[in-house]
C-alpha cells in the first residue's frame, strides 16, 4: 500500500469513527424557516421530555431547500420546517422529502392540513384577512378578496409587496379558483386601488390604516394579534383602530396558510424526527403556538388565544393546500405583469 492510500484509509477510519460516535447520541437536525425565537422554546421542551438533542439552523425556506438539494444524500437535515405551504410543496417536488405514515399525525391533523401522500404536515394555521379602519369603513361595504379590485376602493388599499410569500400564496389561491387570466384582471384592479406603492411588512400596513393613509389592508391574523399585545403603547393604539373582516364567508371561505414540517428524504435520524413531528401537534406544543405566536392551532380541540377568540369563528377556504405551491410561479408572473411591485 502506498503512502497516499495509507493516509486515505487513516482519514477514512477516523471519520467513520467520528460519525459512529455522532450517531450514537439521539438527536434531530432541523432546517427551519421559522425564526429561532419562535421555535426554540418548544424544541427545548421536546429535548427536556425525551432527552433527544435538537440541532437547529434557521434561514429562509428557499435557501434551506437549496442547501438540502446540494447536500444530497449526505444532508444532515432530518426535518424541514417552513412557514408557508408553497415551500413545503416545492421541497416535495424537488425530491427532498419522504412520506411519513404516523397514526398520531393522521389522527390529530385534519386531512386538509396535511399532504395526501404524507410528505408534509401542518403545525399551525393563519388566515390572510382584510383589516379596516372601523371609523371610516363599515363591515357591510366589505365582502370578498375579489371585491378589493372594485373601483370603489380606488386609492384606499394598503398591501405589502408581491415578493412576500403570503401575497404569493393568496394570489396562487385565486389562480386555483379562477384561473390565471381572471386573477391577473383582479391583480390589475387591486394595483389600481393601492393607496401607496407596496412597502414594509404587515404591521406597517395595519399602522397605515390606523393613521388614515389607507382605509383597509390585507394582513395575516397573527400580526394584528401581535400588535394588540405589544409592549409599545403606540402599536396597541394603532391595532385598536382597526377591525378584522373575514372575507368570502358567503362562498369558499377565508384564505388559509400553514406553518408545517416535512421529513427529509435522507434523514439520518428518522425515528427521532417523527417523534418530534408528533410532539409539534401535542397538546402542549399546540397550546404554546396558540399563545406565543397567536396562530391558530391545527387541532380543533386546542383552544385559541383570547385575542383570536375575540374575533370569533370563521369559515376557512377548503382548497387543497398544495394548490398554493402548484400555482405559485404563475402567480408571481401575473403579479409582475399587473405591476404589483
Amino acid at each position: 500500500m502506498n503512502l497516499f492510500k495509507k493516509c486515505a484509509v487513516t482519514i477514512a477510519l477516523t471519520l467513520s469513527a467520528l460519525s459512529i460516535a455522532q450517531s450514537q447520541a439521539a438527536e434531530v437536525n432541523i432546517y427551519s424557516a421559522r425564526e429561532e425565537n419562535l421555535i426554540k422554546p418548544i424544541l427545548d421542551r421536546f429535548s427536556e421530555q425525551t432527552g433527544i438533542t435538537v440541532n437547529l439552523i434557521t434561514a429562509g425556506a428557499d435557501e434551506l431547500t437549496t442547501r438540502m438539494e446540494l447536500e444530497g444524500a449526505n444532508t444532515p437535515a432530518d426535518l424541514l420546517l417552513t412557514v408557508d405551504v408553497g415551500r413545503l410543496h416545492r421541497a416535495k417536488e424537488m425530491g427532498l422529502l419522504q412520506p411519513v405514515s404516523s397514526s398520531v399525525l393522521e389522527q390529530r391533523i385534519p386531512a386538509k392540513y396535511r399532504d395526501s401522500e404524507g410528505y408534509w404536515f401542518a403545525a399551525s394555521l393563519r388566515s390572510r384577512v382584510i383589516v379596516y379602519d372601523h371609523s371610516r369603513v363599515s363591515p357591510d361595504q366589505l365582502s370578498t378578496y375579489e371585491d378589493l379590485a372594485d373601483p370603489k376602493w380606488r386609492g384606499k388599499i394598503c398591501i405589502r409587496s408581491s415578493s412576500n410569500i403570503y401575497n404569493q400564496s393568496l394570489t396562487a389561491s385565486m389562480v386555483a379558483h379562477h384561473g390565471v387570466e381572471e386573477t391577473e384582471q383582479w391583480a390589475r384592479g387591486l394595483v389600481a386601488n393601492m393607496a401607496r406603492a407596496p412597502q414594509g411588512g404587515d404591521r406597517d400596513q395595519i399602522a397605515a390604516v390606523a393613521i388614515g393613509q389607507c382605509e383597509l389592508a390585507v394582513v395575516n391574523t397573527y400580526y394584528l394579534a401581535g400588535m394588540l399585545n405589544a409592549t409599545s403603547e403606540a402599536q396597541r393604539e394603532q391595532a385598536e383602530q382597526v377591525s378584522v373582516f373575514w372575507p368570502n364567508q358567503q362562498d369558499r371561505g377565508a384564505h388559509i396558510n400553514i406553518s408545517g414540517a416535512g421529513l427529509s428524504r435522507y434523514a439520518p435520524n428518522k425515528e427521532a424526527a417523527i417523534q418530534l413531528m408528533e410532539f409539534l401537534v401535542s397538546d402542549e406544543a399546540q397550546a404554546w403556538y396558540a399563545e406565543a405566536n397567536n396562530e391558530y392551532p391545527v387541532r380543533d380541540d386546542v383552544p385559541v388565544s383570547d385575542t383570536l377568540a375575540a374575533w370569533g369563528t370563521f369559515k376557512a377556504d377548503d382548497l387543497a393546500l398544495d394548490q398554493l405551491g402548484i400555482h405559485n410561479a404563475e402567480g408571481v408572473r401575473l403579479m409582475d405583469r399587473a405591476g404589483w411591485r
Binding site: 471519520l15 434557521t58 435557501e63 447536500e71 449526505n74 415578493s163 408572473r333
Partner: protein, 559 residues
C-alpha cells in the same frame, strides 16, 4: 554557482507566482460557478423578466448608484479636506468621529430611520398632534423611496471615501500646495485644482467600494420595496423558483461590476502617484472663524449626526425600552461568535490580500491582472449569491470524496466542509478580500518602485523586501485593511445565514430575525451590540490614519 542560485531563486519566485494565481483561481470558484450556470435554459423566465421588470431593475440600480456616488463624494471628500487642512472647535473629535457610521449596518440605519420618520413614526405623529392635522394634510419626505435608500446608504458608506481621501490628503506634499498658492490660487481653488486631482486614485478606490456595496445591498432596498438587481435576483430565484434565471441576472450584475472595476483601474493606471520625497513638513492648518467656521461644522458634523448619533441614540432608546422582554442570556455567545468570525476573517483576508497585491506588484502581467479583476467582483455580489456559489463546489467536493471513499473503502466521510465554519469563512474571504486588496494596493502603490530596486541591489529576495521594506511602510494600510474587513464581517448577514453550522448564531442573524418579524424595537439590543463591537476598530483606524503623517499627531500639534 552564482548562476545556479539565481536560477533557483527564479524558480522559487515563479512557483510563488503560480501558487498565487492558483489561489486566485480557487477564490474565484464561487464567482465562476455563478457565471457558469448562465448557459442553461430558464423556462422562459428570462423572457418574462425582459418583458416586465428587467428594465426597472437596471434603472433603479443605476439611479441608486448614481445618487449614492454623488452623495458620498460630497459627504466624504469635503469633510476630509476640512479636518485635514483647517482647525475649528471640535475638529479633533470630528476627525475620528466621521468614521463612526462605518459601524452602522445599512439595513439597521434603514430600520431605525423608518421607525422614526415613517407615517406612523413619532415625528409625523408629533406634527399631526401639534397642528391637528390628518395624514395627507401636510407634506413630509417619503422615507421608503429610492431617494430614501440613496440617503440611508450614503450615510453609512461615505466613510470609505472619507477614510481613503483623508489618507491621501494627509500624505500630500505641502510643496505642491505651496506652489499652487504662490501661483495665486486661493485655498478653495488649491483644493479643487490641486489636492482633489492628486487624491483622485484614493477617492475613486473608496468610491468603487461604496458602489460595489450599494449594488450588493439587499436589506435596505428590500425593506424600502425597491426593484433593484438584488431584490430581482431573490424574487426570480425564490418567487419563481428559477435559479438559472437568477444566475443570469447575477451574471448581468457582474457585467455592471466589471465595467466599474475596469473603469476604476483604468483611471488609476493612467497616472502613477508616488511620494516625491520622504520629508514631511507640517501641513498648514488654517484656523476658521465666523461663517466659515459654521459651514465647516455643518459639513463635518451633519454626516456624524445623521449617520451615527441619531440612529445610535434611537437604538439605545429602543433597547432600553425593551430591556424586560429581550433575552440577554444568549448575548455573550452571540458576541463571541461574531467577534471570532470577524477576527479570523480579518486575519485571513489581510494575509491573502497582501500576498496577492504584492504578487501583482512584482508581476503585473495579464494573467495576474485578470485574476485580481475577477476576485475584485466578489464585493459587489449579493451575499446570497456568493453563498450559493460556495455551496455548489463545496457540496460537490464533499459528495465526490464521500462517494470515492465508499467505493474504495466502504466508509463514509459525510459532509466534510459544507455546513462548517470553513465554508462560512471561505465565503467571507471571497466577499471581503477586495476590501483588503484595494486598501493594500493603494498603500503599495505609494511606495516608489525604486525602493524595491534598492532592496534588490542589496541582494534581498522578494520576500525579504516585503518583510523588511514594505510591511513597515504599510503599517497603516495593513491595519486599515484588516479592520475594514473585521467591521464588514460583523455586519454581514446572508452568507452566514445560509452556510453556518447547526446551533451557531451571530448578532447580525439575531437582529435580522427579529426585524423580519417586524419587531424592530426588540431587534435594537442586538443591533446596538453590532454597532458597539464595530466602534472600537473604527476609532482605531481613524486614529492610526491621523497618526500616519509624521508631525501630525495631536500631541506634537499641541506643543
Amino acid at each position: 554557482m552564482t548562476r545556479q542560485i539565481v536560477f533557483l531563486r527564479k524558480i522559487r519566485e515563479q512557483s510563488a507566482l503560480i501558487s498565487i494565481i492558483a489561489l486566485c483561481l480557487l477564490l474565484s470558484v464561487p464567482i465562476l460557478t455563478v457565471v457558469a450556470s448562465v448557459g442553461s435554459g430558464s423556462d422562459g423566465v428570462w423572457q418574462h423578466l425582459s418583458d416586465t421588470l428587467l428594465w426597472t431593475y437596471i434603472g433603479q440600480s443605476l439611479t441608486l448608484m448614481l445618487g449614492v456616488g454623488v452623495l458620498v463624494l460630497i459627504l466624504g471628500v469635503v469633510p476630509a479636506w476640512l479636518v485635514t487642512m483647517t482647525r475649528f472647535p471640535g475638529s479633533r473629535i470630528l476627525e475620528w468621529a466621521l468614521v463612526l457610521p462605518l459601524a452602522m449596518p445599512a439595513y439597521i440605519i434603514a430600520y431605525t430611520y423608518t421607525g422614526m420618520l415613517d407615517v406612523t413614526g413619532p415625528v409625523q405623529a408629533f406634527i399631526r398632534d401639534t397642528f391637528d392635522l390628518r395624514f395627507g394634510d401636510y407634506w413630509f419626505p417619503q422615507i421608503r423611496s429610492l431617494s430614501g435608500a440613496v440617503t440611508m446608504l450614503s450615510l453609512v458608506l461615505y466613510p470609505y471615501v472619507y477614510l481613503l481621501s483623508r489618507m491621501a490628503f494627509l500624505e500630500q506634499s505641502v510643496c505642491v500646495l505651496e506652489v499652487s498658492r504662490t501661483l495665486g490660487a486661493g485655498p478653495w481653488r488649491a483644493f479643487l485644482r490641486v489636492a482633489v486631482p492628486l487624491a483622485r486614485p484614493a477617492i475613486i478606490a473608496g468610491l468603487a467600494l461604496v458602489l460595489m456595496e450599494t449594488l450588493a445591498d439587499y436589506g435596505t432596498v428590500q425593506y424600502f420595496g425597491l426593484s433593484t438587481f438584488t431584490t430581482g435576483i431573490f424574487r426570480t430565484w425564490f418567487g419563481m423558483g428559477s435559479s438559472t434565471a437568477a444566475a443570469q441576472l447575477s451574471a448581468l450584475l457582474m457585467l455592471f461590476i466589471l465595467v466599474l472595476v475596469v473603469t476604476e483601474q483604468w483611471s488609476r493606471n493612467k497616472a502613477k502617484y508616488h511620494h516625491t520625497s520622504t520629508k514631511y513638513s507640517r501641513l498648514p492648518q488654517i484656523r476658521l472663524q465666523g461663517g466659515r467656521l459654521f459651514l465647516a461644522l455643518l459639513c463635518c458634523g451633519l454626516p456624524v449626526l445623521l449617520g451615527f448619533l441619531i440612529p445610535f441614540l434611537q437604538l439605545a432608546w429602543w433597547a432600553w425600552d425593551t430591556r424586560d422582554i429581550v433575552d440577554f442570556s444568549a448575548f455573550s455567545q452571540l458576541i463571541s461568535n461574531s467577534l471570532k468570525l470577524a477576527g479570523t476573517a480579518a486575519v485571513i483576508a489581510l494575509l491573502l490580500g497582501l500576498a496577492i497585491s504584492y504578487a501583482k506588484r512584482l508581476q503585473p502581467g495579464v494573467p495576474m491582472r485578470a485574476a485580481v479583476r475577477i476576485l475584485s467582483m466578489g464585493y459587489a455580489i449579493p451575499g446570497t449569491v456568493i453563498a450559493v456559489g460556495v455551496l455548489i463546489p463545496f457540496t460537490w467536493f464533499d459528495n465526490t470524496l464521500d462517494g470515492w471513499l465508499q467505493r474504495q473503502f466502504d466508509v463514509s466521510s459525510g459532509l466534510l466542509l459544507s455546513g462548517t465554519l470553513v465554508a462560512v469563512m471561505f465565503a467571507y474571504v471571497v466577499r471581503f478580500l477586495p476590501v483588503s486588496m484595494n486598501t493594500l494596493d493603494a498603500g503599495l502603490g505609494k511606495i516608489k518602485p525604486s525602493m524595491d530596486d534598492v532592496g534588490r541591489s542589496m541582494g534581498l529576495g522578494a520576500w525579504q523586501i516585503l518583510r523588511r521594506v514594505h510591511i513597515p511602510m504599510l503599517r497603516g494600510s495593513l491595519l486599515t485593511a484588516s479592520l475594514l474587513v473585521f467591521v464588514d464581517v460583523l455586519k454581514e448577514l446572508p452568507a452566514t445565514l445560509i452556510l453556518r453550522p447547526f446551533n451557531f448564531n451571530t448578532l447580525a442573524i439575531r437582529t435580522y430575525e427579529l426585524a423580519n418579524q417586524e419587531r424592530l424595537t426588540e431587534a435594537a439590543a442586538s443591533a446596538l451590540m453590532i454597532v458597539l463591537a464595530g466602534i472600537i476598530p473604527v476609532i482605531i483606524i481613524s486614529l492610526s490614519i491621523s497618526a500616519s503623517r509624521p508631525g501630525h499627531d495631536s500631541r506634537s500639534a499641541n506643543q
